[in-house]
C-alpha cells in the first residue's frame, strides 16, 4: 500500500498501516460516547423509531393485501374475496368465499372491488405522503440537534485545550474534523446502530414471510451467504486502509488551503502564486485519487456480491414460476392470512415471492455495503473523537479556592518550563511583583518574556515550581477565575469580527458604552475611533485589516484596560506606537495602574523607564532586578549594556567599553 503513504502525517493521525480496526466492542464504546449527545433527545428518538416501525407494518399489510386483490381477485379474477378483505373493502358476503354460490366473481364484482381498492390507495397515498414529510422533517431535526451539540462540544473543547496543543495542530485540520467528521457521528447512530437494527428487522421480516410461503426458498438464500461473507472479510482491510488514506489526504488539502489563504499577502508579495497553485493542484489530485481508490474497492466488492445475489433471485424465480404454473397448494396458517393472503401458488403469490426473495437479497447486499461504509465511518469517528479525548493540559482543580479579593503580591518561585524537553525556556526563575508597581520585563528576543507572562493566565502551567498570588498557588484556583482577573494586551493585535465597541468589550457581556469609551481614552484610541465613519459602531474586517497596526495596538490596550482587572499585562504595548502616543498611553496607564499589578514586556527604553522595577531576563532566569537608575549604575551590568546598545547602536556600545 505504498501509494497510500504520505509524507505529511498530521498530529493525532493514526498511521495508515494501523488503521483502527472495527470491532463490536469499539462500536459500543463509541456509541456510549455519543450517548450524552443523544440523551436530551431520547424520547424523540424512541417515538421516532416506533413511528417508523408502525408505518412499516402498515405498509407491508397494505402491500400484500393490495397485491392479492389486484392480481388474483381483479385481474385474473378466478378467486373470491377472503372475509377480512371483504370487510376492509366494505363489501357484503356475496363478494366473499361463502356468498352467492358462484365459484368465480362476476365482471361487475371485479370492477367494484377494483374501485374500492383504488379509493383505499388514494387515501393511503395522501396520508402516506403527508406523514412521510412530517417524519422526514422530524428525523432531520433530531439528527441536526445531535450534530449541533456535538459540533459545539468539539469547538468548545478545542478552545479549552492548552496552547501547546494548538501550536502544533493546524487550524484547517480542526475545521475539517468538526465539519466533516462530526456529521459522521450522526451517521454512526443512524447507520451504525439504527441502520443495522433496521436491516436485521427487515431481513427477519422477509425470512418470516418467505417461510410462511415456502421454506425451501431459504436454502437458496443460505447458499449465497457463505461466499458473500468470505468476500467481505477479504476486502475489509483494503477498504479500511484506503478509507484512512482518503481522510488524511482530504484533511491535508483542507489545512494547506487554509494556510495558503492566511498567508495570501506573503504569496502575493513574493509572486509565489504559481508555486502555490501547483501545490494545490498536487494536493487536490492526491485527494481525488484517494477518494477514487477507496470507492473502487467498495464497488468491486459490491459488484461481486450483487452478481451472486442476482443469480439467487433469478433461480428462485424460476422455481416459483414453475410452482405457480402448476398451481401448487400453499399452507399459510389462517392467523397469518392478513399478512400472506394467498390460497395457492397463483399470480399474486408469485409476485409476492419474487419481491420477498429480492427484498431479502437486497437486505443482504445492503448489509455488505453498510459494512464497507462503516469502515470509512469508523475511521472518521476515531478522528472526531480524537479531539474530544484530548485532555486539556491546564485544568481547574475540583474544589478551587476563591480568588483573593485584594491582590497584594504575585510570585514566581523556582519556575521551570520548556515547550520541548530539550530546550528549557525558563530555568528556576524567581520573581516577585507587588500591588501598585509597574514591572518591566526586559530581555533579548526569545529569552522567555512572553512565556513568563502566559503563566499568570495559566495558558501554560510551570513544569516545576509555582506561580502564586498572595501565596496561593494558581493551580489551586479555577482557570476561569484566574483569567477573569488578569487582562493582557497581546503583542499580536488580534481583532475579532464585530464593531469597534465589540472588540474593546470582547468577552464582557452587556458592557455599557461609557466603560468602553473610558478605556479607549486611556489607550488613546478615542480620537481615531471618533474619526471613523460610524465611530464605535464601525465594523472591522477579518483580523481588523482596515486599521493601521498602531491603531490596532491601541484597541488591544483598551480591550485589556476595560476589563478592570487587578493584574494587567502589556506585551510590547508600544512597539507600533509613535513617540507622542507612546508617552500619552504610558502616562494614562501609570495613573490607572495605581491599585494594580502591571507588567510591561518591552524593548523600548522610553517605555522601560516608566517602570518601577526592571527585571532583566537572560537564559531563562532573572539576571538583574532593580530600578532603571540602580541598574544603570552597575558598571558592567547587562542592562546597562543593553540600554547603551539601544541608544547608540551596538558598534558604538562596543567601542565605548
Amino acid at each position: 500500500m505504498s501509494e497510500a503513504r504520505f509524507q505529511v502525517n498530521l498530529p493525532g493521525d493514526p498511521d495508515v498501516e494501523d488503521a483502527p480496526r472495527i470491532t463490536g466492542r469499539r462500536i459500543l464504546e463509541l456509541a456510549a460516547k455519543t450517548w450524552p449527545f443523544l440523551r436530551p433527545l431520547k424520547m424523540h428518538l424512541i417515538f421516532y423509531l416506533i413511528l417508523i416501525g408502525l408505518s412499516g407494518l402498515v405498509g407491508t399489510v397494505a402491500y400484500t393485501q393490495g397485491l392479492d386483490l389486484l392480481s388474483n381477485k381483479v385481474l385474473v379474477g378466478e378467486e373470491k374475496l377472503l372475509p377480512l378483505q371483504a370487510s376492509l373493502l366494505w363489501l357484503d358476503d356475496s363478494f366473499g368465499d361463502a356468498g352467492a354460490g358462484l365459484e368465480v366473481p362476476t365482471d361487475e364484482q371485479r370492477k367494484i372491488v377494483l374501485d374500492r381498492l383504488l379509493i383505499w390507495m388514494a387515501i393511503l397515498l395522501v396520508v402516506g405522503i403527508g406523514s412521510f414529510i412530517a417524519i422526514w422533517y422530524w428525523g432531520t431535526w433530531i439528527w441536526h440537534s445531535v450534530n449541533q451539540s456535538l459540533r459545539v462540544a468539539m469547538v468548545e473543547h478545542s478552545q479549552h485545550l492548552s496552547l501547546r496543543h494548538h501550536s502544533d495542530t493546524r487550524v484547517g485540520d480542526t475545521v475539517f474534523r468538526v465539519y466533516q467528521d462530526s456529521a459522521q457521528i450522526i451517521n454512526l447512530i443512524q447507520e451504525g446502530l439504527i441502520g443495522p437494527m433496521g436491516l436485521l428487522f427487515g431481513l427477519i421480516w422477509a425470512i418470516v414471510l418467505i417461510v410462511l410461503l415456502a421454506p425451501s426458498l431459504l436454502l437458496a438464500l443460505f447458499i449465497v451467504v457463505v461466499p458473500t461473507v468470505w468476500l467481505t472479510i477479504a476486502f475489509t482491510p483494503r477498504i479500511r486502509r484506503r478509507a484512512l488514506a482518503n481522510r488524511v489526504a482530504n484533511s491535508d488539502l483542507t489545512s494547506r488551503l487554509q494556510e495558503t489563504f492566511v498567508a495570501a499577502k506573503i504569496i502575493k508579495a513574493n509572486r509565489a502564486e504559481d508555486g502555490a497553485l501547483q501545490r494545490f493542484d498536487k494536493d487536490s489530485h492526491r485527494a481525488l485519487d484517494a477518494a477514487f481508490r477507496v470507492r473502487l474497492e467498495m464497488i468491486v466488492l459490491s459488484l461481486l456480491v450483487m452478481m451472486m445475489g442476482g443469480l439467487c433471485v433469478i433461480s428462485t424465480e424460476y422455481f416459483m414460476a414453475s410452482w405457480s404454473n402448476e398451481r401448487l397448494g400453499l399452507n399459510v396458517p389462517a392467523a397469518m392470512a392478513f399478512l400472506v393472503p394467498f390460497v395457492a401458488w397463483n399470480l399474486g403469490a408469485f409476485q409476492f415471492g419474487r419481491d420477498q426473495t429480492g427484498g431479502a437479497i437486497g437486505q443482504g447486499y445492503g448489509a455488505v455495503r453498510m459494512w464497507s461504509q462503516l469502515q470509512d465511518l469508523f475511521i472518521a469517528l476515531e478522528r472526531a473523537f480524537f479531539i474530544l479525548d484530548l485532555e486539556p493540559e491546564v485544568e481547574s482543580p475540583d474544589n478551587p479556592e476563591p480568588f483573593p479579593v485584594e491582590v497584594e503580591r504575585l510570585e514566581w518561585r523556582a519556575v521551570d518550563f520548556a515547550y520541548e524537553p530539550s530546550h528549557p525556556v525558563l530555568a528556576s526563575l524567581d520573581l516577585v511583583a507587588d500591588v501598585g508597581t509597574i514591572t518591566a520585563i526586559v530581555g533579548a528576543t526569545g529569552s522567555g518574556k512572553s512565556t513568563l507572562m502566559s503563566m499568570l493566565l495559566r495558558l501554560y502551567d510551570p513544569d516545576q515550581g509555582a506561580v502564586s498570588i498572595n501565596g496561593v498557588d494558581l493551580k489551586r484556583l479555577s482557570v476561569e477565575d484566574v483569567r477573569a482577573n488578569t487582562a493582557i494586551a497581546l503583542q499580536k493585535n488580534v481583532l475579532f469580527t464585530g464593531s469597534v465597541a465589540d472588540n474593546i468589550g470582547y468577552a464582557i457581556p452587556n458592557i455599557d458604552r461609557d466603560r468602553i469609551v473610558e478605556a479607549a481614552k486611556i489607550a488613546c484610541a478615542d480620537e481615531f475611533i471618533d474619526e471613523l465613519d460610524r465611530g464605535y459602531d464601525t465594523e472591522l474586517g477579518e483580523r481588523g485589516v482596515k486599521l493601521s497596526t498602531g491603531q490596532r495596538q491601541r484597541l488591544s490596550i483598551a480591550r485589556a484596560v476595560v476589563r478592570d482587572t487587578p493584574i494587567l499585562i502589556l506585551d510590547e504595548p508600544t512597539a507600533s506606537l509613535d513617540a507622542v502616543n507612546e508617552q500619552r498611553v504610558l502616562a494614562n496607564l501609570e495613573q490607572w495602574g495605581r491599585q494594580r499589578v502591571v507588567f510591561l514586556i518591552t524593548h523600548r527604553l522610553s517605555t522601560i523607564r516608566e517602570a518601577d522595577t526592571i527585571a532583566f531576563l537572560e537564559e531563562g532566569r532573572i539576571a538583574e532586578l532593580g530600578s532603571h537608575d540602580e541598574l544603570m549604575s552597575r558598571e558592567d551590568g547587562r542592562y546597562r549594556r543593553f540600554v547603551r546598545a539601544e541608544t547608540l547602536g551596538l558598534a558604538e556600545a562596543m567601542r565605548d567599553e
Binding site: L75, D107, Q159, S167, V175, I266, G275, S284, M306
Partner: protein, 683 residues
C-alpha cells in the same frame, strides 16, 4: 462551563412558515466582498450555460459517459415484455400462439426462440437471458455507486458529489461507467477548483484582505464540487430521459394504440403536468438553498476565526463567547438546511400526488380492459411498468430546472471569484532591468474604498544605492506609501515610477521580482524553515540560504533546533517567539536579492543586539540597491541616508538625521526628542 447554556439542549424552536417566509431578509452572513447574492432566473440561466461550457476540456470523457449511459435503456426496453411473457405464458400458462398483441420489433428474435416451447422451457430460456443481462449490465441487481455515508452538511455531500459516481447499470457495464463517470467529474472539479484557487490568490491585496478565509475555503472545497452535477443535470440527464421516454411512448402507441388510444395521450400529458407543478417553485428553492449555503460558510468562518486567534481568545477569557457565537451560527445553518429540505419535500409531494392520481385513473382504465378480456394480466403489469417509467421521466424532467437551482447558488459563488479582477489585469508587459535611478512618486494620492484619504499629493524621489527610512506617527500612511512600489496598492491619482517607467506598465512578475516587501505581520507557514524561505526564492542555493539567515540573525536560534533549517514549524510558525518569526520573515526578504527591498517595522520585536546587526547588514547591502525601512525606533532611523517624515498622509520633511535635527523647527526633531532618550546628536 457555566450551567446556563447546556450545549446538549437544542435551543431554538421556531415556527416553520414564519421562518421560511418571514425571515428571508434577516440572513446576515460574513461575505464582505461578494455581497449581492440574489439570483434571478435569467442570471441562473446564464450561469448554467457557462457551466456547460466547462465540458470543453473533457469532451471525450463526456462523450464516453453519454454512450455508456445508454446502457440503462436495454433493461428499460426489455423488462416489461419479458415480465409480461412470464405472467401470461409461464404463470398464466397460456400458449404463446395466443398472442393477439403486436410485440415491439426488438422482441422478435426472443419470441422466435420461444416458439413451440412449453411454459417451463420458456422460463428456462428467459432465465438464461436474465443471467446474461445480469452479468453484462447488472439487471435485477441494481446500479453501481460508491457513496460514503454523508451527513446533511456540505462537506460530506461535496465528497460524494465528486467521487460517488453512479451508474444505473450494474455488472461490467456499471463498473466501466462508474470509472468514466468519476474520472470525468473529478477532472472537471479539479480544473474548476484550481481555477478558483488561482482567482482567489491573485485577487488584489485590498480585496484579499476583505475576503474571509473560511468563506474562500468553503467555495473551493464545497461549492466547486457542485458544478459538474449541474452540467449533467442539464445535458445528459434530460437527453437520456427524453430519449427513453419517447421510446416508451412509441412502444405504447405501437402495441396498444389500437386497443385504447387514451392510454397514449394520458402518457403524454404527464410531461406538461410535471413541469407546471415544479417550475413555480424554482425561485423559492433557490433562495432557501442560497441562504443555506451562506449560513454554512459563516459557520466555518466563525470556527476558523476563533481557532486562528486562539491565544487571544484564551487569554481574554472569550471561550464562552466564541462557543456561543459558533453555536448560534451552526444552529442557524442547520435550520436553513431543514427549510431547504421542507420546501423540496413539498414540491416532491405535490408532483407525487398529481402523477399518482393520473396513474390511478389510468390503471383503472387498463384494469377494466383486462376484466372484459381485451388485455391480459401480463399486459397490465407491462403497461404499468412502462407508464411508471414515463411518469418518472416526466417528473425528472420537471425537476431539472429545480435541481439546477441549488447548485446555481454554488455556481455563482464559484464564478464570482474566477471573474474578479486580478492583479495582472492592471499591468503591462514591460520587463524591469537593473535599477539605475530609483523610485519617484508623482503627485500621488490614495483613498480607501470608503473614500477616506490615506495619502495626499505626494511628490517624492528615492534614489537607488541608498538607505531610506520612512518615519511618522501611527496612521501617517507609511505602509500605504510603501505598498505603492510593488503595486500591492494602486494610487487613486498620480503615478509611481521606477527608473522613469510607470509601474503599471511593468509586468507584475518582473516588478515583484525586483521589489521585495517584508511585512509587519510575520506570516510563516507550517513547513520547514527551508521551505518558508523557498517561497520567496525557490532557486536559492544552500549558501545563499545560510547567508540570508545569518544576516537576519536567525542562525543562533536555528543552531539549537534539532533539524536545523529543516525543522518544521508549528502552525503559522507559532512555536517560535515573535522576534524569531520576525527574523525569519526578514531572511525571507533578503534571500530574494532584489533591487528594491522594503521592510515594514523590521526591528520592532528585535532586541538591540539583533537590531544593530540587522541595520548594519541593511546599510551594507544598500550600497548597490534601494533599501526602504519603515521604523519607529531612533536607533534604526538615525542610520538612514535619508529620512522621509510623514504625517496625516503627507510627506512633511526629507533629509538625513543630522540635517533634520539641526533645524529647530523640524517636526522630525520634535518626534525624535519625544522618543525619550536624549537625542544622541546633541550629546
Amino acid at each position: 462551563m457555566s450551567d446556563g447554556s447546556d450545549p446538549n439542549t437544542p435551543r431554538r424552536r421556531e415556527g416553520l412558515l414564519e421562518s421560511i417566509f418571514g425571515k428571508g431578509g434577516r440572513a446576515q452572513y460574513d461575505d464582505q466582498v461578494d455581497i449581492d447574492t440574489e439570483l434571478s432566473n435569467k442570471e441562473t440561466f446564464f450561469l448554467v450555460g457557462r457551466a456547460v461550457g466547462l465540458l470543453k476540456p473533457v469532451k471525450k470523457l463526456f462523450f464516453a459517459k453519454f454512450l455508456l449511459s445508454t446502457g440503462m435503456w436495454v433493461p428499460g426496453l426489455l423488462l416489461p415484455w419479458i415480465g409480461k411473457i412470464i405472467v401470461d405464458h409461464v404463470v398464466g400458462g397460456k400458449a404463446l400462439d395466443d398472442v393477439e398483441l403486436r410485440y415491439p420489433p426488438f422482441m422478435d428474435p426472443i419470441l422466435a426462440s420461444l416458439q413451440g416451447l412449453g411454459p417451463m422451457q420458456i422460463m428456462m430460456v428467459l432465465s438464461i437471458l436474465y443471467v446474461g443481462l445480469l452479468f453484462f449490465i447488472g439487471t435485477r441487481a441494481g446500479g453501481t455507486g460508491a457513496y460514503l455515508y454523508e451527513g446533511s452538511d456540505a462537506a460530506t455531500q461535496a465528497e460524494n458529489q465528486i467521487s460517488g459516481g453512479g451508474s444505473e447499470a450494474g455488472g461490467l457495464w456499471g463498473l466501466l461507467e462508474y470509472w468514466v463517470n468519476v474520472r470525468l467529474t473529478q477532472r472537471m472539479v479539479n480544473l474548476l477548483r484550481t481555477d478558483l484557487f488561482e482567482g482567489l490568490t491573485r485577487l488584489s491585496l485590498t480585496t484579499v484582505q476583505d475576503q474571509r478565509i473560511g468563506d474562500s475555503m468553503y467555495r473551493v472545497l464545497y461549492d466547486a464540487p457542485m458544478v459538474p452535477d449541474v452540467v449533467y443535470q442539464l445535458t445528459l440527464r434530460p437527453l437520456a430521459i427524453l430519449i427513453a421516454a419517447l421510446i416508451q411512448i412509441y412502444l405504447i402507441e405501437y402495441t396498444y394504440g389500437d386497443i385504447s388510444p387514451e392510454l397514449v395521450w394520458l402518457a403524454w400529458s404527464a410531461f406538461p403536468i410535471a413541469i407546471a407543478i415544479t417550475f413555480p417553485f424554482s425561485g423559492l428553492i433557490r433562495r432557501t438553498n442560497q441562504t443555506k449555503r451562506a449560513a454554512g460558510s459563516s459557520t466555518t468562518s466563525s470556527m476558523e476565526e476563533s481557532l486562528d486567534s486562539i491565544t487571544a481568545v484564551q487569554s481574554l477569557g472569550g471561550m464562552e463567547r466564541e462557543k456561543e457565537r459558533f453555536a448560534e451560527r451552526s444552529e442557524e445553518s442547520f435550520l436553513r438546511e431543514r427549510y431547504a429540505i421542507v420546501v423540496w419535500a413539498i414540491v416532491v409531494a405535490l408532483g407525487g400526488i398529481f402523477l399518482s392520481s393520473l396513474l390511478i385513473y389510468w390503471g383503472r382504465g387498463v384494469a377494466h380492459n383486462v376484466i372484459v378480456g381485451l388485455l391480459t394480466p401480463g399486459d397490465f403489469f407491462a403497461l404499468i411498468g412502462i407508464l411508471v417509467a414515463i411518469f418518472y421521466a416526466a417528473g425528472e424532467l420537471g425537476d431539472t430546472w429545480i435541481f439546477v437551482q441549488e447548485p446555481a447558488a454554488a455556481l455563482r459563488r464559484v464564478f464570482f471569484f474566477i471573474d474578479q479582477e486580478r492583479d495582472e489585469d492592471a499591468h503591462g508587459e514591460e520587463e524591469m532591468g537593473t535599477l539605475s535611478d530609483g523610485v519617484t512618486f508623482e503627485n500621488l494620492s490614495y483613498e480607501y474604498p470608503d473614500g477616506s484619504a490615506a495619502l495626499k499629493e505626494i511628490d517624492l524621489e528615492l534614489p537607488t544605492n541608498s538607505f531610506v527610512a520612512i518615519v511618522g506617527p501611527t496612521g501617517a500612511g507609511k505602509t500605504s506609501l510603501a505598498y505603492m512600489i510593488p503595486a500591492l496598492l494602486r494610487p487613486t491619482r498620480g503615478r509611481v515610477l521606477i527608473d522613469g517607467i510607470d509601474v503599471t506598465r511593468v509586468h507584475l512578475d518582473s516588478l515583484r521580482r525586483q521589489v521585495t516587501y517584508v511585512f509587519q505581520e510575520h506570516l510563516l507557514l507550517s513547513e520547514s524553515i527551508r521551505d518558508n524561505l523557498g517561497i520567496a526564492n525557490p532557486d536559492a542555493t544552500e549558501s545563499e540560504l545560510l547567508d540570508a539567515l545569518q544576516t537576519a540573525g536567525c542562525m543562533d536560534f536555528i543552531a539549537s533546533m534539532p533539524q536545523g533549517i529543516d525543522t518544521v514549524l508549528g502552525r503559522s510558525g507559532e512555536t517560535l517567539s515573535v522576534g524569531q518569526q520576525q527574523r525569519l520573515s526578514i531572511a525571507r526578504g533578503l534571500i530574494r536579492n532584489s533591487q528594491i527591498l522594503i521592510l515594514d517595522e523590521p526591528t520592532a520585536a528585535l532586541d538591540p543586539v539583533a537590531e544593530n546587526r540587522l541595520v548594519e547588514a541593511l546599510t551594507e547591502i544598500s550600497k548597490d540597491r534601494l533599501v526602504i525601512v519603515i521604523a519607529h525606533r531612533l536607533s534604526t532611523i538615525r542610520r538612514a541616508d535619508r529620512i522621509v517624515f510623514m504625517d496625516q498622509g503627507r510627506v512633511l520633511e526629507v533629509g538625513s538625521h543630522d540635517a533634520l535635527m539641526r533645524d529647530n523647527e523640524s517636526q522630525y526633531r520634535r518626534y525624535a526628542m519625544l522618543q525619550g532618550v536624549d537625542s544622541p546628536a546633541e550629546r
